[in-house]
Amino acid sequence: MSDVALDLDGAAPRTNKPAWHRLVKDPIAMTAAFFLLLVVGAALLAPWIAPGDPYASNLRVRLCPIGSARCPQFLLGSDQAGRDMVSRLLFGLRATLMLGFTAVAIGGGFGATLGLLAAFYRRLDAPIMRFADVLLSFPPILFGLAIAAIIGTGLNGLVVALCITAIPSIARISRGAAQQVMHQEYMEAGRSLGLGDLRLLWRYLAANTWPVIMIYMTLQLGQAILLGAALSFLGLGAQPPTAELGSMAADGRKFLQIAPHVSSLPCALIFLLVLAFNVLGDALRDAFDPQLRQ
């Protein structure tokens, strides 16, 4: 029986060669992908490649500008507590990326499951989609505010808020993609072979829907990082002295006139990160999912 199922899996086009070709030939998308690879690698290796301790302060070299002779040991200057900006940026990147990935993995995973269930079981469709509509009716920032107010400011609340905001849009997308798969003949074939619901859901529906879901998760990552940084900037997420890009940007704004690099470096990093996720997500969507371009 499992051989048959495998054959059927093979019959469904899982990889799409021309799409990959189109993607690889897109220089902008490839630049974004390369940048993300670099940045994720740097974030993962932060404890080993950072030149110093991101929390070690030295008040004698406070707010040292980039390339100043006063602090030759700091490549990108120092912040208001005389901490090494390079190390703080690396660890900040790590925290920010971790927040985004966690939120999209948990919230998006939950949303994707809901979407698949809605497509698979007709009677669950209306309640699940109404639930998604309800969640979509809240502006994301309100989740951030409300959750920070109820469980207090900090990283935990931030993750919860980001998770919830990732649920509804991913649920909608995965339901749409799964509904198309439901019309495929191999679904019918699998059913007529007497396969159980779980197997149909996992081996057939999920296996053929996940590329679309992953594309939208990439786009969602950019949004999650942007929202997380905004909430941290407002003082509702990561708290100082935690190295997190949003709260670093907020920390530095008191010294905007004398040492603009303290806030502009983390800001620029957030921007590049979100831009890369958006560009890559758009390119992936255009290459693999021309029907869902809008």
Partner: protein, 314 residues
Amino acid sequence: MARHIAHRLMISLPVLLGVLLIGFLLLQVVPTDPATVSAGPSATQADVAAIRQQMGLDQPLWVQFGKYITRVLKLDLGRSMISNRAVSDEIALTLGPTVELMLACLIWAAPLGILLGSLAARRHGSWIDRSIMALSVVGVSVPVFWIGLMLIQHVGGAGLLPFQGRDGPLWTMAGLKSILLPAITLGSVFVGPVARMTRTSMLETLATDYVRTARAKGLAEWRVTIRHGLRNALIPVVTLIGLQIGFLLGGSVVTETMFAWPGVGRMAVGAITSSDFPLAQGAILILAVGFLSINLLVDVLYAWLDPRIGTAGR
């Protein structure tokens, strides 16, 4: 159309209930027992119990929730724990500036976005199109606080424009000057999405039969674009702009906080960071209700503008 609006209302109700539940929860997490506080330091256990009963705090939570809803409907949102003023009064003071800021942002960002979007669609595939679309991706990727920080550093810091607070009503010169930087900040992240939506909608419209007919009639190209293209493309754009109000709300909370603009968003952040639960409850409630009513209004407007909506199912 009636069905369409009924559907929206059906979704809005649980949302409203959810918002009220959040508000109610916020008042539950207050660390001090309100009965003990109002009984005073010399009160006995029995006194506290009596006040507890009088305030209805001994009743089951769902009864208290019901009472909370009736209080909210009467606009009684409690008192701020810090200023001790009525929360509804605090909201009345901050609502105006928030609406002001949003309008000041929409008034320049929406037309500019529509203009750029139409231009991109007209020159579909050209370098103009590509640069406008690149600009819009940059626009949705840039953190709103970075734009604010740059404006504060370069324009505010140079003394060209004020960047702290609201210096008066909009019709005075000082008031107008003080809203410029916040409105530019907030609007700059709004142009991109509007341009993108306009372009998509315009491309669809320009491909329709009636546009081809208009061209075949020999109408001038600008006339086809504006009279036949833009007028029809604008219907979905109006809705989408309305639906982006939530996005705008997020930006406005950040913008208000940065520029010390005395709006609801800044008040909400301040109340949360200083653990002023009743005020936070009121601010979140009004932001959510405002957002819901705008969405509902936009939906009705859409159905009214475009009679095809809601009748298609019949």
